[in-house]
């Protein structure tokens, strides 16, 4: 028991140090660029780029709902894949039962996909 948790801490402690180091590297590089970069700012440089002319209106506009639909579909299917992973790891021990159970699970998922398909949620018009 103790050994497992120790290993757990060691592995994820490593990941934690990677996280800190990654942030550190990013901050250091940005700071270095801040130190050495050119500063002859033209006031027009800070306008929004719209191929030359003055920008028209704001960019923060209501978005097409299809982005939301795809995000929703993604959340559903991604959670389902997380259910499939542990099953896949112990599949060889489960045998026939595991196969039928997963067949039912994937059949239900496919029905959901088919429903979204028929409803036109997968259509990017």
């Amino acid at each position: 028991m103790f050994e497992t948790s120790d290993l757990f801490l060691r592995q994820y402690g490593q990941v934690g140090i990677f996280l800190l180091f990654g942030i550190f590297f990013a901050v250091i590089s940005l700071a270095l660029a801040w130190l050495v970069r050119v500063r002859n700012h033209d006031p027009l440089l800070n306008t929004t780029y719209e191929c030359g002319p003055d920008p028209v209106g704001t960019a923060w506009i209501p978005l097409n709902v299809r982005f939301y639909l795809f995000a929703l579909l993604f959340v559903i299917f991604d959670v389902e894949t997380l259910f499939i992973y542990p099953w896949a790891v112990i599949y060889k021990d489960l045998g026939m039962t595991g196969f039928w159970e997963m067949s039912v699970f994937i059949a239900i998922l496919s029905l959901g996909l088919l429903y979204a398909w028929k409803k036109g949620a997968l259509q990017w018009d």
């Binding site: 060691r10 592995q11 994820y12 402690g13 490593q14 990941v15 140090i17 990677f18 996280l19 180091f21 990654g22 942030i23 590297f25 990013a26 590089s29 940005l30 660029a33 801040w34 050495v36 970069r37 050119v38 500063r39 002859n40 700012h41 440089l45 800070n46 306008t47 929004t48 780029y49 719209e50 920008p55 704001t58 960019a59 923060w60 978005l63 299809r66 795809f70 995000a71 579909l73 993604f74 299917f77 991604d78 894949t81 499939i84 992973y85 896949a88 790891v89 599949y91 060889k92 196969f99 997963m102 067949s103 994937i106 998922l109 496919s110 996909l113 398909w117 997968l122 259509q123 990017w124």
Partner: protein, 387 residues
């Protein structure tokens, strides 16, 4: 029989391409050799430190920080190499020469010059932008890419954190980078950026699902999520009456392996937003997509992240489908790097072979073709294991 006659430019292209590939192999040799030497030296130093009673936790932390530095070095060098390589390969596929001046020999120092240029560029934050979202986005795109390298096995014993859930960890973290891209798109206050960011997000999340599912048959065969264990599982040969025929790499599993490999490769190219799936930054319609308003170091972080993911995808492909570090004679890390760079070459090859997909075709392709096939592949693999 008529032998094909090569034109002068084809001969030259072939010669230069092979020279470049050999140079790439040489570079990876040098990097790997260095890190392996380092490993030995490090073991010696650790034992010495333990002898003179320095606390082991401290030794471990210092060791991890050194590993981080090596990996950052590796990422930077390999990204620089891949960028230069891409430019050369692209150029020769179009009968051009590509960079030839910088550094002398075939423009080898071109990317270094580019990096210095990017460091010196002035920083632009548009008036319309949300300043902190704009600043944080590149960091958020890069850090997960770096974190993923922690669990990438570069060969036997060359892995920083050999997590039990290795492959899941990499998929989970590479999903976070989408957030950085959406933040860049939204935070720039630019219509092109917004559209590019959202398209990229929709595309990445859609291709994530077949990508994650296509790996499931491998997990069923190998019975582990650990990348080293999966690579280990693929060592050895299939023999017909004692004669080794094919290595037991997953890509050689009849049908299941090829389907999984194709789905994974296509989805990986789409995940990294590269041509033919680069509608997110389609320059003919969206300027530069989500990084339209980025310049200098912040831009280079997006660039770094993209190419870090390219090598990461290639590395995972090598570990999952091409047997990781298994191979004869040469040490395992050479095999790993050779296989990875081969997959990177496939990525570059795709770029100049396939035309860009239209956005509706792109989404339909993953949801209506790749996803059903990956489900089917899981069930077929299940049946094969049972029989």
């Amino acid at each position: 029989m008529v032998l094909p006659v090569w034109t002068q430019s084809q001969k030259r292209a072939f010669g230069v391409l092979s020279a470049i590939s050999i140079a790439g192999a040489g570079l990876s040799l040098a990097i790997g050799e260095l890190s392996l030497r380092f490993n030995q030296i490090w073991k010696f130093v650790t034992s010495l430190a333990l002898k003179i009673a320095i606390p082991s936790l401290l030794v471990q932390i210092v060791s991890m920080i050194l590993q981080c530095s090596i990996l950052i070095g590796f990422i930077s060098v390999s990204v620089m190499f891949i960028v230069w390589w891409e430019r050369k390969v692209s150029a020769h596929m179009q009968s051009r020469l590509g960079p030839m001046e910088t550094g002398g020999w075939h423009g080898w120092a071109q990317t270094i010059a580019d990096a210095i240029k990017l460091l010196l560029k002035e920083d632009v934050i548009p008036h319309e932008a949300s300043p902190w979202v704009h600043r944080l986005a590149p960091v958020l795109a890069f850090v997960p890419a770096f974190l993923c390298y922690a669990a990438l096995p570069f060969g036997e014993g060359l892995i920083s954190a050999d997590l039990d859930i290795g492959i899941l960890y990499i998929f989970a973290l590479s999903g976070i980078s989408v957030l950085g891209i959406v933040m860049a798109g939204w935070g720039s206050g630019n219509k092109y950026s917004l559209l590019g960011g959202l398209r990229s997000a929709a595309q990445s999340v859609s291709y994530e699902i077949p990508r994650v599912l296509s790996v499931v048959p491998i997990l069923m065969f190998a019975g582990s999520l650990k990348l080293t264990a999966i690579a280990q599982y693929q060592s050895g040969f299939w023999r017909i009456s004692g004669v080794p025929l094919l290595p037991k790499w997953f890509i050689f599993y009849p049908f299941i392996g090829q389907v999984a490999f194709l789905i994974f490769l296509i989805a990986s190219v789409a995940e990294t937003n590269r041509t033919p799936f680069d509608i997110a930054e389609a320059e003919s319609e969206l300027v530069a997509g989500f990084h339209t308003e980025y310049s200098g170091m912040k831009f280079s972080f997006f660039f770094l992240a993209e190419y870090a993911y390219v090598f990461l995808s290639a590395g995972i492909t090598a570990a999952l489908f091409l047997g990781g570090g298994s191979g004869p004679i040469l040490p395992s890390w050479i095999w790993f790097l050779l296989k990875s760079f081969f997959v990177v070459f496939l990525f570059l090859w795709f770029r100049w072979t396939f035309p860009r997909l239209r956005v509706d075709r792109l989404m339909e392709f993953t949801w209506k073709f790749l996803l059903p096939w990956s489900f089917a592949n899981i069930l077929i693999a299940g049946l094969v294991i049972l029989l």
